[in-house]
Amino acid sequence: MSANETADAPTVRRLHPGTIGITLLRQAPSTLLGLPAILALMSDTGLLIAIAIAAVGMAVAGIFAWLNWSRFTYAIGADSVVIESGVFSRNRRVIPFARVQDVDIERKPLHRLFGLAKVTLETGGSGDDEGDLDSVGIEEAQRLRAVVRARATGAIMQSAAQPAEAAASPRSRVLYAMSLSRVLGWGLFNFSLIWLAVIFGALQYVEDWTSIDLYDRDLWEMLRDRSARYVVASAAWVALAAALGLLGVAAGLIRTLLRDYGFTVADEGGRYRRTRGLLTHSEAVIALPRVQLARIDTGWPRRRLGWMRLRVQTLATDDKARMPEIAPFARGGEVDTLLAPLALERVHPALLERVSSGHVVRAILRQVGVPAAAIVIAALFAPAALLLGLLLIPALALALLRRRYHRFALIDGILHVQRGVLTRQTWIVPPRNVQAVTIRRGPVQRLLGLSTVVADTAGAPMLGGVMVQDVAHDRAWALAAALREARLAASAARSGA
């Protein structure tokens, strides 16, 4: 990109001066919050002095922001990014290109106001190792991303012994894009009642201001009497419930629109680039060699309508970046297109093998037997608890269906695992990314001759990773052996290439 970057002495750069403005604006609320307090304290000295104090406060904040800005430098060296910061205690951070996984560009409304962007260099280490450049100009952000990405991918490619031309040609091909109507459709499935808490919190204030006690029995009884007929009152409750439901849908729509507006994933030869967001425009780059596995999940209503979500698991350490959404709301064909650069594909569930029928026995014991025992004990004290037994019917139905939807197979050297009755998840895992295989047998499983096979992967959640529950003991070991074969084959193919 620029020849001087590769020279021994790399150019040392500063952040965009607009950073000072952003810092000041960010701090302004807390700086100015003291103003009313000052006013109250000096009610006799008057407004002018209070304003003068506030101005001095802003000026001091400005000097500190300027100092911070002037002491923050970054440089792109031959094999690493060096970030130096700190006014009094200096900090020098070296991030080797080989460790950089993603280069994210994020633009919050304040950044957009100044025409700037925040660049984050994500590394595999703990959160502290991350390099934030907040903020640089847009051209500089794009230049940084191009340079760092090319070198980071170069570093990966070298050790991966993969063709280097992929890094050289940054041609971009859009794999997946969400239209506005698609985003809105997806929003309809994101029912959210979080806003209700906010509204109820606000109601508390209404209560204070209007001196209406919401929890006053008389008030509600008066309202009920006033509505004259109980039927009318219950109609009002139904209307309230409907209003709450609509509110939930609206909240989900708005949240989804803000987050996923303009969702686009492009293949740039060796990496996905994902852009999305209405007010906060965020851009993430996911290097394909860093992808550990693909996961497709879909809830019951979405599945009925033919929609599914695709995520990949990366090595990033913070939870948000670990399983980025590649397509939140997609058709099967679109998921196939997105999986193609990863050399992964979906397979029909009928090609997968069901786990042992003992899986149902265990599910019934755990999901029906244990609650049933609890209900019986509770009924000894309060017979009405027996009514809870009705809840066991759907639990039993789910337990009976579990085996039907828990399937696995190793097809063309790729592990496929499907699990879940209502929310169905499918993992697609290249065995070379399996870090360890654990075969576990609990006491009940030993009685039934079953084992659970856990395939540990990098970046997996502590619970709910890739797991095949309750297969016959022989099958478990056969699966472990097959995973080994597939790993060796992939490794041989790689070193042969």
Binding site: S159, Q435, T438, W477, A481
Partner: protein, 159 residues
């Protein structure tokens, strides 16, 4: 088809190490039940010695029987390209680590372990749920030998 390897048991010294490790919680249990017994005695409750009397066989079981059974449940094997470690009495856990997936290795030895002539090999992978696989109760020589063999097999493959 069972584990495709024959597992090696741990060094006999590990049995002592595990019994000593069980001793402290067992003594705590004994102290608590003795305390309860003393309180009952002070309140003139009949049979105040009963909790302590019940605790004695429990402590003997926890120190003499359980560690020995847990010790027998451990086993390990170094196959061609994989390390097998099995343990667990109640839940049997058998972990297979491909040597090419090992990130780094530790050999550790505490004072009690040193006195009983055993050491621990700790294998770290890039995974999450079983990112750290510990093989206790092998002789220091075996541990160092294993470490060298595994280190030679770690390939410079990326994750």
């Amino acid at each position: 088809m069972h584990p495709p390897v024959t597992l090696t048991s741990l060094e006999p010294g590990q049995r002592r190490v595990m019994q000593l490790a069980a001793l402290l919680p067992a003594l705590a249990l004994l102290a608590v039940s003795a305390g309860i017994g003393a309180a009952l005695f002070a309140k003139d409750v009949p049979l105040p010695w009963l909790p302590a009397a019940l605790a004695v066989p429990a402590v003997l079981f926890l120190v003499l029987v359980m560690p020995v059974r847990a010790y027998r449940a451990w086993g390990w094997a170094l196959a061609e390209d994989e390390l097998h470690v099995a343990h667990g009495l109640w839940s049997r856990v058998h972990t297979v680590v491909p040597l090419s997936r090992v990130q780094h290795l530790d050999v550790a030895q505490g004072p009690v372990e040193r006195a009983n002539g055993v050491a621990r090999l700790i294998v770290h992978t890039a995974g999450t749920a079983h990112a750290t696989v510990t093989l206790p109760g092998i002789s220091r020589d075996t541990a160092e030998q294993l470490r060298d063999v595994i280190r030679a097999q770690i390939r410079s493959e990326p994750w």
